[in-house]
């Protein structure tokens, strides 16, 4: 029921949004709303935090308590919110540049702490808002306004980076695979600990155009034809996976959560000092 979803979770008086025609972010924002709706979370207990960039504008459009912060720092703000109010459902929406370049340090340390925050990355492989510069996820060899001769940087795998840093739930969805992505976001929110769902978005305006990969339809058709579910990928060889994007749940472990551990510190400190 998309219309009811919009009515309940989108601030319609702040539309139209700033995203370009064909951008994947709108679909992903809807996936977040759908996940919250299916989990029936109290909207006033959901705190959505974002940084700076195209994806970060989602905070202004979604009807929760929303905090649109500084570039790269959304996770650090979110940690303050969560530590002060562990009862809140704290979500972060961030772009690839926001979370893996300028905010990379906060990502790895929040993951290491295993603090109960759910990060949804809208990864469009490019800096969209500033006009198409290469990001930490732009594939090597691709073109961008600051990579006019081809990108020589190697891209980050954000989900893998988060897992290696200590995130206890990681997954990957896409703008095309909406039902799967909704399920993954729900799992991430329900997971007790740091969860990250990397969502492949599409940017026809800059990434598609600069790389002659077509418009939104072509970019999403690529997602449809080249994604492999993680269960299936586990049985495939490295060669077979060449050029494919692995989607689905990527990792999940059960480890102590940070605010739970801090509660024990408070008990300890109060016990020792009466």
């Amino acid at each position: 029921m998309p219309s009811k979803l919009i009515e309940k979770y989108i601030r319609e008086d702040h539309l139209p949004h700033i995203w370009c025609p064909g951008c994947g972010h709108g679909i992903l924002m809807r996936d977040v709303a759908e996940a919250v709706s299916e989990l029936d979370l109290d909207q006033e207990k959901v705190f959505l935090i974002s940084g700076i960039g195209c994806s970060s504008r989602a905070a202004g459009y979604m009807d929760f308590n929303t905090l649109h912060t500084t570039h790269g720092r959304a996770i650090a703000f979110a940690e303050g919110v969560k530590l002060a109010r562990p009862d809140l459902n704290v979500l972060v929406i961030a772009g690839d540049g926001d979370i893996a370049a300028i905010g990379g340090n906060h990502l790895i340390h929040a993951a290491r702490r295993n603090i109960d925050i759910t990060v949804v990355v809208f990864n469009n492989d490019i800096y969209g808002m500033t006009g198409g510069q290469f990001s930490p996820t732009t594939p090597t060899g691709d073109f961008a306004t600051t990579a006019p001769y081809g990108n020589i940087d190697r891209p980050f795998d954000i989900a893998k980076l988060a897992e290696a840093s200590g995130a206890t739930y990681t997954a990957r969805g896409t703008a095309y695979h909406a039902q799967l992505t909704i399920k993954l976001i729900k799992e991430g929110i329900l997971h007790r600990g740091f969860s990250l769902i990397e969502c492949a978005s599409v940017c026809p305006t800059y990434y598609g155009r600069k790389n002659k990969k077509g418009g939104s339809v072509e970019l999403m058709t690529w997602q449809k034809d080249n994604c492999v579910l993680s269960e299936k990928a586990a049985k495939m060889t490295k060669e077979e996976l060449e050029g494919k994007l692995v989607i689905g749940k990527l990792s999940e472990t059960d480890l102590p959560e940070y605010t739970d551990e801090y509660k024990k510190i408070i008990d300890k400190a109060r016990g020792y000092h009466g």
Binding site: R11, H14, Q43, E44, K45, F47, I49, A59, G60, D63, F64, N65, T66, L67, H68, T69, T70, R73, I75, A76, F77, A78, E79, G80, V81, K82, L83, A84, R85, L88, N105, H106, I108, H109, Y262, I265, I266, K268, A269, R270, H273
Partner: protein, 375 residues
Amino acid sequence: MSKKVLMQGNEAVVEGAIAAGMRFYAGYPITPSTEIAEQSSVRLPQVGGTFIQMEDEISSMAAVIGAAVTGAKAMTATSGPGFSLKQENIGYACITEIPCVIVDVQRSGPSTGLPTSPSQGDVMQARWGTHGDHPVIAISPASVSECYFLAIRCFNLSEKYRTPVILLMDEIVGHLREGVEIPDHLDIEVVDRRLHTDKGHMPYEADEKGVPGWHLCGIGRYNITGLSHDVSGFPTNSNEVTDKLVRRLMGKIQNNADDIIEVQEEYLDDAETVVLCYGGTTRAAMSAVLEARAAGYKVGMFRPITVWPFPEKRLKEISSGKKVKRIIVAEHNFGQIVLEAERIVKNDCKIDFIGKVDGTVITPGEILEKIKEAE
């Protein structure tokens, strides 16, 4: 019942902050402020609060604002290099009007400088460190006792005016140990942010002082953004709305300067020479003034406790008084507040300057010598 306790300046800041209601601290270790983090890590869980050591100075400032958004009274502490890193998010707290306290225990710079040596080189950074026009309150203690009481004042002002407040310390007071008369907690005045009592208010609707009320977290749904915003809290591209916002932000401090500004004045009645000082330098200045007066010199002292907004009205009254012939500005830098003094005093009287950038303290003897210099 009050009690007298021997404390270090940095430690007194934490005790004062907790008395004022601090329940959240995020920070990163840096000399000479580290004891504030250490003491917070011990004390906060004892009062049910939260301490977190973040991965850097930027995230410390961010986490403090995040906690403050939920209603917690939150603080961070740092020194020069870390103060530089915090600046962007301090500006965010200014425009979003999130109350919080930033302690800067100044050390010798620029850059890594002399990390364990005293300085007052961040005074202008406290005023202009973050980009754009923004309001600032900065308060500078001169004793351990003041570290305690001015930390409380920082929290109270940040709550009252919904703005970040800087406790501008220096290594001298941060590492000083003195007795502090700690009052009974019932005798401490604690100010809390004014709450909007119903959902009818727009989140950035201000009162006659220019300060908006506060919505309790979890009751209603609000948007906070560092973008220029209207009274609803949502972004705007309107030049008119932006003009109104920035003027209100500046106005809520400027128009309430009399409430915010505190000064210390000594022997100004007959003073022909006035020593202008602040923070740790006050201690040397006071000794010099007492010694000079004992030797018959008509000298007094004027000290902004509130460094920003600068007490310009009061300084003008002093400098334009008939008796005052000379103002000696003594500060632990290459000349920062002396620029403010020159701007305000103009041709009222002569201005002399004592500055130091070698990492040693300004001594009473150096100030005394300047007082005794022929005019």
